[in-house]
Amino acid sequence: MHLRDTPEEATFRAELRAWLAENVPKLPPEPDHTDWPGRRAYESQWQRLLFDAGYAGINWPVEGGGKGATPGEHLIYLEEASAAKAPEVTVGFVGQMHAGPTLIAEGTPEQKAHHLRGILDGSHVWCQGFSEPEAGSDLASLRTRAVRDGDHYVVTGQKIWTSNATVADYCELLVRTDPDVPKHKGITWLIMPMDLPGIEVRPLVTAHGTAEFAELFLDEVRIPVANRVGDENDGWRVANVTLSFERGTGFVGEMLDTTNLMKELVAIAEVTPKGAGTAWDDPGIRRELGQIAAELDALWAYTKRNVSAGAKGGLPMGSGSAFKLSYAGVVQRLGDLALRILDRASLAMDDVDGRPTAAQVHGRLHAFAVSLGGGTSQIQQNIIAERVLGLPRER
């Protein structure tokens, strides 16, 4: 086992660090969190710089136009990009992390030719139409219907939790093409251009009070059969091909954000009065911060385990679920501790007393995005119990 870089990794890191130091300062100020058109322009500009430098599609295979980096290099890329305060991937996430890799694995030559380059150079933005309000954790019970009409599918239904929908060019869409077979067997994967008639995008306001997501209402949207990826009724497998591209790096950005939030909370504690001194002078508070920091350290190590296991042939079953379960707990404990340190400054999601308190209160809400999004903590527990520990299925 090694934590140090191999010579190749060290070279990769040094070159990347130099390039980031030169190029990140070229960017304009980052637009507001919910200014989607602004975010799209900002990220597309950065993606173009990456593309021209050969860093786009860092984890994509070379034959798909990517860099073909090893998982270790990918992790180095994420670490260095964060340290250099390079833009995070938000608008480009679905295209780069899900749709693109799926097309590389399952797309037709025409589909690849039309889409991959656009994702890599930042000119095409994708959104994801998988989740539905009624389906929830039972993703495969989706109801959005697609009926074949000549060389089109006519699609009607509703999708939820679709980020970037207001600025996306394409949507990776799961639809039900056969309602008469077991739920996993009647699903098809389609590329839906977002400018087709019949698509309505409604912002979805979260508990934060902002529109991080959208709902898609689809009313007889006509999608060419040529836009189908994989066979009809084979969409569930195609969607899981996408997931298998996940190489243990999915939560790195998240975790870096949380680590920063933890460090900011330490700084807040150092200047916040509590009892006779500051909150930081309170050993109980210090220990709780230490426990959170230790678990974040451990999750970094777990990420390295998973990334190196992924490089050798695949993530261990259940490792993603265990990671997420632990991470959800850390984020929640950090939020709870933040409240106690902020005390009455936690009554608003605004910076109070000249300290960056708003982010801490937001962090408490964000804990739910972690414990609910991408399969609730309860679903992760079921996955571990049944698939890893081999406990009998619920009857």
Partner: protein
């Protein structure tokens, strides 16, 4: 010794609950949070029920009941997510003219030892009462410079940031101030108990209806055990809060400050943990603005620091145990 509600007390709680359900449906509740959304007519109707004067003597215009009855009323108000400065109005009803009938809306500030000066509901208030070790002071809100913070944590609890604790006219001495702090804490804790119970009830209803994997999600033991813990926390907290309320009415059997602190600890734990479970049980929908689950949690987050926070309460109980 009798720590159960009488028939009259149950009727009182039911009256408040019914009124809250009728007059403060969820849209009305949410509207209170909007700028200018404080509905003085609804507030006056709430006052007319005797809500704020519940524990004041009848010759002072009150209902003449005990602290424990005020506790029961605030439990029902909390469960109904009723908006506005409920604790402040109950404290001030005997001291400031017009509060008891709802025509004057008060806010209250427990002078902080340090840290920012944030006041709930000051945006909508006519008068601010400042409580500290020396007594209670009255401040006219007309002349107050402060910033209404744009993103209150609980969207229904507007929060104003003041540069400093304002000085006003002394209207009561240290005994009244001490009594306000205890009563204020217990009433906020009572609302927390109401929130604990109501957020659990909403989650239970959802768990019975919502189908996943071909069955109601409430039939899965994972969620059952989470919800059973919610019930446990509510009942334990209720016991502590009732005990503190009765202890204020009957000082002999115990240490009031310890009882008040224990009540805050248990009530804050119940309301915040049950609030989180409530959101979690709703799955992704619990994270949407539209679904009401997050409002219980946010109200709990705001109330748990009112007249004492859980950390200070734990410290106080520990010191009392050590004698």
């Amino acid at each position: 010794m009798d720590l159960t509600t009488s028939d009259d007390q149950q009727a009182l709680q039911e009256m408040i609950s019914r009124f809250a359900a009728d007059r403060f449906d969820i849209d009305t509740v949410r509207a209170f949070g909007e700028p200018g959304g404080f509905d003085r007519a609804a507030w006056a109707e709430l006052a007319e029920l005797g809500t704020f004067g519940i524990a004041l003597p009848e010759d002072a215009g009150g209902v003449g009941l005990g602290t424990i009855d005020a506790v029961l009323v605030h439990e029902a108000l909390g469960a109904g997510l009723v908006p506005g400065p409920l604790v402040a109005a109950t404290l001030a009803a005997g001291l400031v003219d017009g509060v008891i009938d709802g025509s004057v809306v008060p806010a209250v500030l427990d002078r902080p030892a340090h840290g920012p000066v944030v006041v709930e509901h000051l945006r909508d208030a006519d008068v601010l009462l400042v409580v500290d070790g020396d007594g209670v002071s009255k401040v006219d809100t007309a002349g107050l410079a402060g910033t209404v913070l744009p993103h209150p944590t609980d969207p229904v609890t507007p929060v104003t940031l003041l540069d400093a604790v304002p000085t006003g006219e002394r209207v009561a001495g240290p005994e009244v101030a001490a009594a306000w702090r205890r009563l204020g804490s217990v009433l906020a804790s009572a609302q927390l108990v109401g929130l604990s119970e109501a957020s659990t009830a909403v989650a239970v209803d959802y768990a019975k209806e919502r189908q996943q994997f071909g069955r109601p999600i409430g039939s899965f033991q994972g969620l059952k055990h989470l919800l059973a813990d919610c019930y446990m926390r509510t009942e334990v907290a209720r016991s502590a809060v009732w005990s503190a309320g009765v202890n204020i009415d009957e000082p002999e059997p115990g240490d009031i400050d310890r009882a008040v602190a224990a009540a805050r600890l248990m009530a804050a734990r119940a309301a915040t943990e049950n609030g989180k479970t409530g959101v979690q049980v709703h799955g992704g929908m619990g994270f949407t603005w539209e679904v009401v689950a997050h409002l219980y949690l946010k109200r709990a987050w705001v109330l748990e620091t009112q007249f004492g926070n859980p950390d200070d309460a734990a410290e106080l109980v520990a010191l009392k145990v050590a004698g």
